[in-house]
């Protein structure tokens, strides 16, 4: 009964969601910064003034100038170019690891929530075990075990991010499972798989989108942290975290080295968090405080 008039409601609901989102200026600002960063990451080879690995021994640790707007590092490399290229590493680390966690975590959550029984117990305990460790400690241990490289960093972050998606999905599925439209779909003969993917998944996608955008912020930060600790990308590939690590030693003599990657990490994480918050407010009218 409720399933039939649902189509026009969804459309109207979407428009409302969009309006609610655009009304939140901070969220829009977050979205703009995220889009800008994505463009920078995609175009970094074309907009960087220098090769980020090009060393210039005649220009070591130079302060910002016309030739090097953000100065040069301890090997005479252009900081601006390295920050621009670093966007590729940070964003791809954030996106890839969260995409991986999203797929695996959601699948686990769907199965656990819908099938229930011993399978739910098993998945639940594995998730509990993963959640028992602090996020960063687990990521550091995994990165250390897997060996330092960008792929392994992404894998480590994906693994520690997965439980959150599984938890959110399972909780949502449990709530949706008892609703009329699911009962109706089953009664009409839809298979479990069809019910899950065609009926339940679209209805819980809002929560997952919010979770994903917040997780990206966390993943970007985690990649920076791992690179800062030397467990991320290997030199000379520029990463904001590893740039910050090097810059730490020159805080007194070349403070601009720390400033650029520091500010950009801050902005990126802030932008994804604002975007995530905005999406949550827009997608979940009940959670709105305004």
């Amino acid at each position: 009964m409720t399933a039939l008039p649902a189509v026009p409601t969804i459309k109207r609901e979407r428009n409302k969601t969009l309006r609610r989102f655009t009304a939140n200026r901070l969220a829009v600002a977050g979205l703009i910064v995220v889009l800008l960063l994505s463009v920078v990451a995609l175009l970094s080879p074309y907009i960087s003034p220098f090769d980020p690995a090009k060393q210039d021994f005649a220009a070591l640790l130079q302060s910002p100038s016309a030739a090097h707007p953000l100065g040069t590092d301890e090997l005479g490399r252009d900081t601006l170019s390295r920050v621009l290229y670093g966007a590729r590493i940070s964003l791809s680390a954030g996106l890839v690891s969260v995409a991986l966690a999203l797929v695996v975590g959601t699948a686990l959550g769907l199965i656990a929530g819908f099938v229930g029984g011993w399978l739910d117990e098993l998945i639940g305990r594995i998730i509990d075990a993963l959640l028992a460790f602090p996020f960063l400690i687990l990521a550091i241990s995994l990165a250390a075990i897997l060996g330092p490289s960008l792929q392994n960093t992404m894998l480590a972050i994906a693994i520690v991010t997965t439980p959150a998606f599984a938890r959110v999905t399972r909780a949502q599925v449990l709530a949706q499972r008892e609703l009329d439209y699911v009962q109706a779909a089953s009664a009409l003969g839809a298979s479990s798989g069809r019910t899950l993917l065609r009926h339940i998944l679209p209805n819980i996608s809002g929560a997952l989108i919010v979770q994903a955008s917040l997780a990206i912020a966390e993943a970007v930060l985690a990649e920076s942290t791992l690179s800062f600790l030397g467990l991320g990308v290997q030199p000379p590939t520029p990463s904001w975290g590893s740039m910050l690590n090097t810059a730490r030693g020159y805080l007194q003599t070349a403070p601009w080295l720390a400033l650029a990657p520091g500010v950009i990490i801050f902005l990126t994480v802030l932008a994804f968090n604002l975007l995530g918050d905005g999406l949550r407010d827009a997608l979940d009218p009940r959670g709105r405080t305004r």
């Binding site: 060393q55 021994f57 330092p148 030397g230 290997q234 090097t246 730490r248 030693g249 020159y250 003599t253």
Partner: protein
Amino acid sequence: MTRTKFAPPMILGLTLFLSTAAAETLIVGLDADPPRLDPALSTAFVDRQVMNQIFDKLVDVDEKLKVVPMVAKSWKVSNAGLTYTFKLNTGIKFADGTVLDAAAVKYSIERNLTLEGSARKGELASVKEVAAPDAATVVINLKVPYGPLLAVLSDRSGMIVSPTAAKKSGADFANEPVGSGPFSFVSRKRQDNITLKANAVYWRGKPKLDGLVYRPFPDGDVRVANLLSGAVQVITPVDPKDVATIQKNAKLDVTTFQGLGFQGVWMNIGKPPFNNKLVRQAFSASLDRDAINKVVFLGTVKPAAGPFPPGTPAYSAAIRVQAADLAGARKKLAQAGKPSIPFTLLTAPGAVNAQLAQLYQAMAAQVGFNVKIETVEFGALLDRADKRNYDAVMLGWSGRPDPDGNIYEFFHTGGSNNQAGYSVPGIDSLLEKARAQTAMSARVATYNVALGKIVDDSPYAFTYFTSNTVGNAKTVTGLRLVPDGILRFYTVDTK
């Protein structure tokens, strides 16, 4: 002091009181927590910093690396270099009150030779027997002549431990070391501090300081920050990039002086690509050693030609620093039939290592090497180097006063530091010959012949000679700059 002359007597009194009561304990920042304060078991350079205050040695080396008397006041070499007879100073007491005599020296050297896990067995391998004919005479008989013996005895092998304490403590001696040095051990808290106090009855006179505290700061930035804040008064080493920061500070001094060690890159001759001599030579020729000194060390080290730093006895101007030769290197790679060669460069963590690795990477790339940098923890790096599980590895040496300590174990077949698996019978016999020679000029000639071949074979690309660096408050005086890099605090005072 000149200013206090005009001050009222009360303030003068107070100043004197403060300077004797408070200011006489010196805090020293090191780059690691010394793992084992036992002369026999120690394998880390940083142990020597602390043990040199706690223990007296049979002999010492001076600023010019000349072997000088310490516990032994004189010695004689006889029997074609097979017998060393030492006359000892008398009236020396250990911190536990027992007497340091010939029997204690004999005990200490024999302990180094026999103790389970002793790291001294190699450098004392030529020793046949130690005898103590009377309380003030020690005779060491050798199996074969061994020129480096005196230099070896100026380090951990020559440190005299209290036999009473060593027997009592057993395996625990490293945690309660007892020697006869200018300072004696009080306490230690792992990863936090080692506290020593002045030996009031030291046989050469009481030291000027009342106490000495060592604190470990593995991170160079943290080490220098503690010096700048005044939390410590002396640090060693100082990261090259921090030298200028200290120089700018009116209250601090920084000194850079020639060390005994070298740094460079081992190439694994046991597998491709470095099993080909041309490829090894090409990598070595791609390195601009002057640029390395300027960029990473801001001119504070010296480019290396071989294992012997300038100013040490075996240094020879005949062994020239290799100039960067990009065209020559490319030609060699072409000759080897491999214009483009990928390899992995293994390095330990740390700011200087990271900078060096990227520099080597960029320099080698100019001639056609595609270098991948792999950073692994130092213990893992050593393990992989020992198992020859690498392409190229950045690994150096802190250095020894006698040249033998900088070459023999590195290029002799089966040497403990021969991580490339280099094995050339002609080199082996030359290194053995140099060991048995007593005149330094003869040894240098032998080394030069060996080095000509070693540099040509290029199992190791020498890049630079390490410098010792010390940062200290200007109030600290009397630091002696001995090339072994160990700060001897017996003569140190604070104003």
